[in-house]
Assembly symmetry: C2
Homo-oligomer: 616 residues x 2
Amino acid sequence: MFVEAAARLNVQVKLLDVGDTAPAKQINYLPGPDGKSQHIDGSFADPEKIRQLASQVDVLTIEIEHVDATQLQKVLDDKLVDAVHPLPSTIALIQDKYLQKVHLASKGLPLAEYVAVGPVDMSKATDAAQARSAQVESVAKIGAEFGFPLMLKSRTQAYDGKGNYVVRSADEAAAAVAALGDGKRGLYAEKWAPFEREVAVMVVRSATGEVRAYPAVETVHKNSICHTVFAPLRTADPGVEARARKIAEQAVATFGGAGVFGVEMFLMPNGELLINEIAPRPHNSGHYTIEAADTSQYENHVRAILGLPLGSTALKVPSAAMINILGLADSDKDNEAVAKTLVPAVVSLDVPGTTCHLYGKAGCRKGRKIGHITIVGQSDAQVRSRLHVIEEALDKATELAEKGGRLPSELTLPGVVALNASSAASSSTSQTQKGSSPKSAADFSHPQPLVGIIMGSDSDLPVMMAAAEILKKFDVPFELTIVSAHRTPDRMRTYARSAPARGLRAIIAGAGGAAHLPGMVAAQTALPVIGVPVKGSTLDGVDSLHSIVQMPRGIPVATVAINNSTNAALLAIRILAAADPTYLDKMQRYMEEMENEVNGKIERLAHDAWDYTLKK
Amino acid sequence: MFVEAAARLNVQVKLLDVGDTAPAKQINYLPGPDGKSQHIDGSFADPEKIRQLASQVDVLTIEIEHVDATQLQKVLDDKLVDAVHPLPSTIALIQDKYLQKVHLASKGLPLAEYVAVGPVDMSKATDAAQARSAQVESVAKIGAEFGFPLMLKSRTQAYDGKGNYVVRSADEAAAAVAALGDGKRGLYAEKWAPFEREVAVMVVRSATGEVRAYPAVETVHKNSICHTVFAPLRTADPGVEARARKIAEQAVATFGGAGVFGVEMFLMPNGELLINEIAPRPHNSGHYTIEAADTSQYENHVRAILGLPLGSTALKVPSAAMINILGLADSDKDNEAVAKTLVPAVVSLDVPGTTCHLYGKAGCRKGRKIGHITIVGQSDAQVRSRLHVIEEALDKATELAEKGGRLPSELTLPGVVALNASSAASSSTSQTQKGSSPKSAADFSHPQPLVGIIMGSDSDLPVMMAAAEILKKFDVPFELTIVSAHRTPDRMRTYARSAPARGLRAIIAGAGGAAHLPGMVAAQTALPVIGVPVKGSTLDGVDSLHSIVQMPRGIPVATVAINNSTNAALLAIRILAAADPTYLDKMQRYMEEMENEVNGKIERLAHDAWDYTLKK
C-alpha cells in the first residue's frame, strides 16, 4: 500500500524483504540492466542488508519497527542516506515498550500506571535462572501493589497480543514469566485498565515537527488482534474525539523524524483516555484512510518522509469501517481451508461501498493478516449493515474451519480458490449470495440512529408515533425517547450536546403548551431541530405553535404544522436527502406516489361522485 | 491503474507493451524462474506478440482499442484463451467510427447526422490519387447537404482530436482530405453539432449483459483533449442526468463481451443527447471514480472480465473533479520544461481533497497525458475552488512554457524535478504556495450554489437580506432571486424542479400574506424548504405564519419566526452541517460567540446597570 502511494507520485521505492514475491515487491518492478529486480532479498533485521539498501537509496523508512535500529543509526552517521524516517532513536525508543512509557510519562501524557519488572537491564543479567526468579518475585510484589489481574508485558518484539500475559494472581507469576521469555527478555507490568472501548488515532508528522491527526476511530480486537475499525469514533461524551486527537498529536510531536504514527488508546469509563502504545509506521487502524480520507496514511507517509507538504487528514465520506481478513487455514495447500479464509473477500464483492485488499501473501496460516476490506457509506447504520453481511459470512466460515465442515456454495465463487484469473474466468455467472441483502437499517431505537424523536411526555406519543412510522417506511435509522425540558433539564442538555458526536443528523422534538423543548434543544446543538407543536386542551395548539416558531434571532427551530409529526419526519428525510442521493430518490418517489394517489381519487370522483363520500 | 485494481484482488496480470518500464509494468513485477519479468516486450498491434500473450493467460483484455482485432478473434477461435473482453468483434466495430455509428443508429440510439465519405471500402481503393479526389468531391457534396462547418473524421486510428478536421467551406475540402490520410484512409462526415456541453458516462457490462452506469459527468475539452471532468453532471433540466445514463446503458448493452465502456455525448441546447463516440475500455472521463466512486472503473473492469459480481457505481462523495496533467516540454531533457509540466502536481499537494496520479511515463512531450489529479469535496463550490488553485498555477506554467520564462520558486519544490525521492528529500521544508488559499466560495449568486434564497417580491428584500448576510458570513455559496408563486407560477415550477439537479441542498423562501411560495416550492422538490413568514401591513404576520406552517400531511415546510430570515439561513447551515463536519464546527463556534456576547452584556449590566440602556 506504501508502494502504491509512492508510485502515484513517481517516487521510486527499493525494498528490503525476503524473497522475490514479498507483497510489496509484487507491485513494484525495479529492473536493473540484467532485467532482474533490484530489490534486496533479505531480512530487515540483517545489519548487512540494511547497509546494502542504505547505500542505494536517498531516504530510508520502515513498515515494521522490529528492525535493527542500531544499524539504522550507523548508516545515518556514515552518511549512506540523507535521512532515516522516523529517526533511528525514535524507532529504538518505541521498540522497547517500557522505555516508550517512560518517555511518554516524562512528557506528561496520560498512561495506565506501569512499572519495570525484575532486573531492568536484561543485557546485564547473565544468569537466566537468576533473572527469572527476580522477575517472578517482582511480579508478585507489583501485583500486591497494583492488584490483580495484572497485565504483564514483554518490553520488546510484542505485537498482536504476542508478548502480553494477564496475571490473575500471585500464583501465576512464574507461569507468566516463563511464557514471556523465561528470564531472557525484559518485562514490565501495567495496572489493569478496565477500559470501555479502544480508540486509535493516526498522526502524520513532518521532519520539522508539524503534526496532523486523522479522525479518532474505534478499534475492536478479537483474541488481541485488530478485528474491525470504525471511523469516525462515536461517543455520548461530545469531547472525546477531539481529546483523543489532541493527545495523539502531542504524543507524536515528542518523537523525532517524519512519517505516520499509530497511537492506540484506552477510553476509560470516566471519559479519560490512556495511551496504550504507539507504532512508528502506517498502522492497521489507519487502513480505512485509503478509501475514506482525503489523503491515505500511506501517501501521507510518503509525503512526510520526502519533505513534501502533508495532505489533508479529513474524512471524505460520512462513515467508514474496516475488517481484517485473517488466515483460517492450518495448511496453505488445503484449497478448502483457503476458500474459507477468502469468504469475507468473496462476499464483499456483492456489498456496495466495499473495497477488498488482498495482500498477495504466500500463505494464509491461522491468524495471519492476509488482507482487509474497507466499507464506506452515507451513515454509520449503512456501514454497519454492510459490514454485517461480511461478518455473518465470516462467522460461518470460521465455524466451518474450526469444525471442519464444507463451505456452502453460496459463499464461494465456483472454482475460485485464490480469486485468480484462471479459475474465476471460467464461471460466466456469479453465484455469490445475490439474494441476501444487508438487514434493514430502520428499527425502533436503532443503535446507529440518524434522527432522534423526542417528546416532553408520553402523552405526546400518539401524535409523535406518525413520525416514527414515516422514518421506518423510509428505512431511516432513528431513536425515540422522552426528554422533558421542564422535568429533566439535565437529560435535555446531555441529549442535545451529545447528539452530533453520537452521529445524529436531525432531531424532531414534539411539545405542547409552553412548548420549550424544541427551542431549548436547538440552543444546545448545532444540528437542525424540527419542532412539532402538539395541540393541548386549550387554545387549539396556537400556544404550542407560537412557543416553538417564534424563536429569537440566532437559534432556529424548523417548525411544522400543529400535530403534524408526519411532516416533521418527512422534513428530517429531506434534510438527509440534501446530502444523500438515495434519500432524495426515495422522497421523489414518495411525492410521485402521493400524486398518483390523488389522481386515483380524481378518477373515482369523476365516475362515482354521487356516493363518493359514502363509499370512502 | 488497472494493474493496481487487479493486484488488490490477487489477480495476476501479464502485460504486452513496449519495453521493461512501461507504466503498468513498473507496478507489476511478475518474475520468472530466471528472476526476470515475464511481461511481454512488444507492440499491442503485433499479431505474433498478441498470440504469445494469449498462450500464457486465461483472459485477454485491452486498455487501448487500436489493437489487432483480427488476431484477437483468431486466438479466441484457436482457444488459446478462455475469453477476450470485450469481444474482438466489438473492438473491431468500435475501431471503425463509421461502422460504430451505423451500428448505434441501427439500434435506435441518438446520433448527430453522419454519412460516409467517398469510397466507403478503402481496401478496394487501389489508386490513392483517385480515392483522394473521390473523397474531396464527396466532402463538397455532403457540405452542400449538411451545411458548413462540417466535421470530417477519420474512420480509424482517431483519438484526442487527431483524425478530426473542421471543414469551414467547400474550398477546404481538399486540404481536409489531405490532412486526414490523403486518400489512404476511410473518412466520414458529421453534421455540425453546436452542442452546449459535453457529457460522458462510464458503463460496466458483464459478459452476461448486465449493465451499470456510473453517474453522468461533464467533460471539458481544450484543443480536443480532455482537460477537466466534473461529477456529477449539473443541469437546469432535471432529467438530463438520468437520460444520459439510460442512453449510455442502452448503447453498451448492444455490444458483446465484458468490461467498462466510456460513452461520450453532446448535450444539445434543446436538451437532446447525441452519442459522439464510445470507447471499449477504461476512459479518461472515468478516472475520477478511483477516489470518488464506491468501485473504480478499473476494479469494475477487472470484475467484469473475470465474471465476478459488478461493483456499485455510486458516488461516495458529494462532488468530484479531474484535471489532466499534459506534457508542456518539447524535450524530456529540459529540466525546466519538465518542472513546468509538473506544476499542477506540485501545487495539488497543498490542496485538500486532491490525489495526484503520475503515470511514470518516460517523457512529457507537449500534449502527452502524463498524469491526472482528482479533486473531491463536500460541494461543487468547494471542488471548483480547489480546482481553481491548480488551474491558476497550470495557466501560469503553460504561459511560461510557451513564452520561455523561468518558473517562479513558489511553483516548484526546491530541487524537485521529477518528484523523485533523491531530490525532494534534500529539502526539509516545502516552499509551495502555503499562503495562497482557494478563493472564498461565498458571493452573491454563486455559480455553484448550495442554498437558494427566493422571495415573492422585491418588497421582501429588506427582510430576506439578513439571510444572505448570514450565508456570506458562513462562506456558504448561495443564490438570491425573485420567484413569485402567484405572478410567475411557471418560473416557480422550473426553479423547484431543477433545484436538486443544479446542486442546491436547501431553499429559503420568504413570503407574506397568503404566503404560498414556500409550500408550493416544497410541493415540487424533494429538498428541504425553509419558510420565512414576512409581516405584511395587516394581521402582524400571523396570516403569513399560518399560511406557511399549516401545510398538509405529506409536504413539510420548515417554518421559522415571522420576519426572521436570519434564523432561516442559520437553519439552512444546520442542514448542511448535518452531513458536513466543517459547517458543524462553524455553527458550534457561532453559538459560542453568541454566548460570549451575552456574557459580555451580563458583565456590563453588573457594573453599569443604571445607565445601561442609555449607553446601549
